[in-house]
């Protein structure tokens, strides 16, 4: 089955992001296709490389990136939500005159159309959040 995953909550604050990761990983291991993972609302905070979780805890940002690299998985952050919350890549930094970037390896910033397209192209849209 082909899935698009939507992540609506921030890392560490809310288990939704852990559940989304574990679901995505399990689905891939079972041979399903993940069309895309889309990060919305505070979920965009999954994509900052500036987090430093304690060493005895899971590294949520890094493990998304590793999953992406291992499975050619698209991790897409909503641009409008990212602008509000300060998730910045080179393009956003240039467009909005920011002096730094913080996007993590494996993530990219794009538009809400990527979520809608994912819902159209996939058999299931699975939403993680409250």
């Amino acid at each position: 089955m082909k899935f698009t995953i939507q992540v609506n909550e921030g890392p560490y604050q809310h288990q939704a992001t852990d559940s989304a990761y574990l679901f995505t990983k399990a689905a891939l291991e079972k041979g399903h296709e993940i069309f895309r993972v889309f990060f919305y609302h505070d979920g965009v905070n999954n994509g900052t490389r500036l987090t430093t979780p304690p060493q005895d805890d899971r590294n949520i940002v890094k493990r998304w990136g590793e999953l992406s690299a291992g499975h050619d998985l698209g991790l897409v952050i909503c641009g409008a939500a990212a602008q509000r919350r300060g998730i910045v890549d080179d393009g956003e930094a240039e467009r909005n005159g920011k002096d730094a970037t913080n996007i993590a390896e494996g993530f990219r910033i794009s538009g809400l159309g990527q979520l809608v397209e994912g819902a159209i192209q996939s058999d299931r849209l699975v939403v993680f959040g409250d």
Partner: protein, 135 residues
């Protein structure tokens, strides 16, 4: 896009306590470009999103409620309000914005977008959908 899917946007939260309502509306507006068969449902505290005469001055937040009136222009013409959710909050349809759309097949006649339905009827409407955007 090959097929048209039935999209249901479910709005469950009050408009300003969290950003879900506003960012949900942004998905609806962007999603309109994909020309799917779109419906919106307002249930639980979500019915507060459509209260007319909202004034957010004291909150120092943007009052995005006028945007709902534009939904008809985005061809979002099926807006379901759950009757029990209104009643539980002491509200009636008169407390909500009057949302309309213009039917080009009937000489641009103005029609109501809002349909007031019971919780049981909402279940049937939901059962008929392909994709849920749940906010």
């Amino acid at each position: 896009m090959s097929e048209i899917k039935k999209f249901m946007y479910v709005n469950r939260r009050a408009p300003y306590g969290t950003i879900y309502a506003w960012e949900s509306l942004e998905v609806v507006l962007i999603g309109a470009a994909f020309e799917q068969d779109v419906s919106m449902a307002f249930i639980d505290d979500g019915v507060y999103q459509l209260i007319k005469g909202q004034d957010t001055t004291g909150l120092e937040m943007k009052n995005f409620s006028p945007t709902y009136a534009a939904l008809g222009d985005y061809e979002v013409t099926k807006i379901y309000i759950e009757k029990e959710s209104l009643e539980e909050r002491g509200l009636t349809l008169d407390d909500l914005q009057h949302l309309t759309w213009e039917d080009e097949d009937e000489d641009w006649a103005e029609k109501d977008s809002i349909q007031l339905i019971s919780r049981a009827e909402m279940v049937k409407v939901f059962a008929d959908q392909d994709v849920f955007f749940n906010f």
